[in-house]
């Protein structure tokens, strides 16, 4: 075997990568806030009135992130969440989804008929700009 396609199916792939993207976005936002000297992890926990270990486990992926905890974390970091669902854009020349599993141990199976059935999700955590600051920047 010269090449192995790690293919877990489009549904699982979509779920795993979405969860990973949310975590990465939170970690990126927290790192930026730390660099700015605006928020430490300890302060984040204090603001949310939870133990620091819970924040650690949520950010490391060891504990579940509910929509509420995601919203709370964004609030505590002074960030806002933008969320949208959109149909994937298909362009000529782009990668095509895998249609078969090449796992040597199991039955070869069609994953989703070669078509992307899932919707494309995007989640971004961005700093909240107050009305006052926005007005100031326009002056």
């Amino acid at each position: 075997m010269t090449s192995f396609q790690f293919d877990i199916g489009s549904r699982a792939r979509n779920a795993g990568r979405f969860i990973g993207r949310v975590r990465n976005e939170l970690l990126k936002a927290l790192s930026e806030r730390k660099k700015e000297g605006k928020l430490s992890q300890q302060e984040l926990a204090k603001k949310l009135e939870v133990h620091r270990s819970l924040i650690n486990r949520q950010l490391s992926g060891e504990a579940n992130l509910t929509l509420r905890s995601l919203a709370d974390l964004a609030w505590a970091m002074g960030m806002e969440i933008s969320f949208e669902l959109k149909k994937p854009i298909v362009e000529a020349g782009q990668n095509q989804p895998v249609t078969t599993s090449t796992v040597g141990h199991g039955q070869i199976k069609y994953i989703d008929g070669g078509r992307r059935s899932s919707l494309c999700q995007k989640i971004v955590v961005s700093p909240i700009v107050s009305a006052e600051a926005a007005a100031k920047s326009l002056r």
Binding site: M1, T2, S3, A15
Partner: protein, 161 residues
């Protein structure tokens, strides 16, 4: 001295790929030994127990890790939250919440997965040393310990992006 192509041709390692998104291209290379690929296959087929800590299953975590690695995404957010860690003897550990993958970098951005295991098992049984020794032995047996092995311990030594 064998080249990467020689190692692939003899079946010592195989290229590992995951589906990339429509507009992504692989920025790094990933290989696995036959034993590692067999372990991955068992995991996909559900022959390993499926307990997991967070919301993603073990195979979803691995897919996300491989996708991040191959697409060139950052693997280190800060000292505390990182997907990659240097061990002794030019061995590197790739991490997900539930899984640990041990291997070495043949060149910058070119990682070989040798062992995959559950994080709890690795920690509870302190398997780090054993995996390090086994990986070094494998490199010697393949004749690549001095040629296809990045020695640095700084992430910048093994990842260019």
């Amino acid at each position: 001295m064998p080249t990467i192509e020689d190692l692939v041709a003899t079946g010592a390692i195989s290229r590992i790929e995951v589906e990339l998104d429509g507009r992504e291209q692989a920025q790094r290379l990933l290989y696995g030994t036959p034993n590692f690929i067999e372990w991955l296959g068992k995991l996909i087929n559900g022959e390993e127990s499926e307990g997991h800590l967070g919301q993603a299953t073990a195979v979803e975590q691995i897919d996300q890790l491989f996708h991040s690695y191959l697409s060139g995404a950052p693997l280190i957010h800060n000292r505390q939250f990182r997907y990659i860690r240097a061990e002794e003897n030019a061995v590197w550990e790739l991490k997900t919440p539930d899984i640990r993958i041990f291997g070495w970098f043949m060149k910058r951005d070119c990682f070989v997965c040798v062992f995959g295991d559950w994080a709890d098992k690795v920690k509870d049984h302190d398997l780090y040393r054993g995996y390090r020794i086994a990986i070094r032995r494998l490199r010697r047996e393949l004749g690549v310990d001095n040629t296809l092995c990045v020695q640095g311990v700084d992430p910048g030594d093994v990842l260019s992006v």
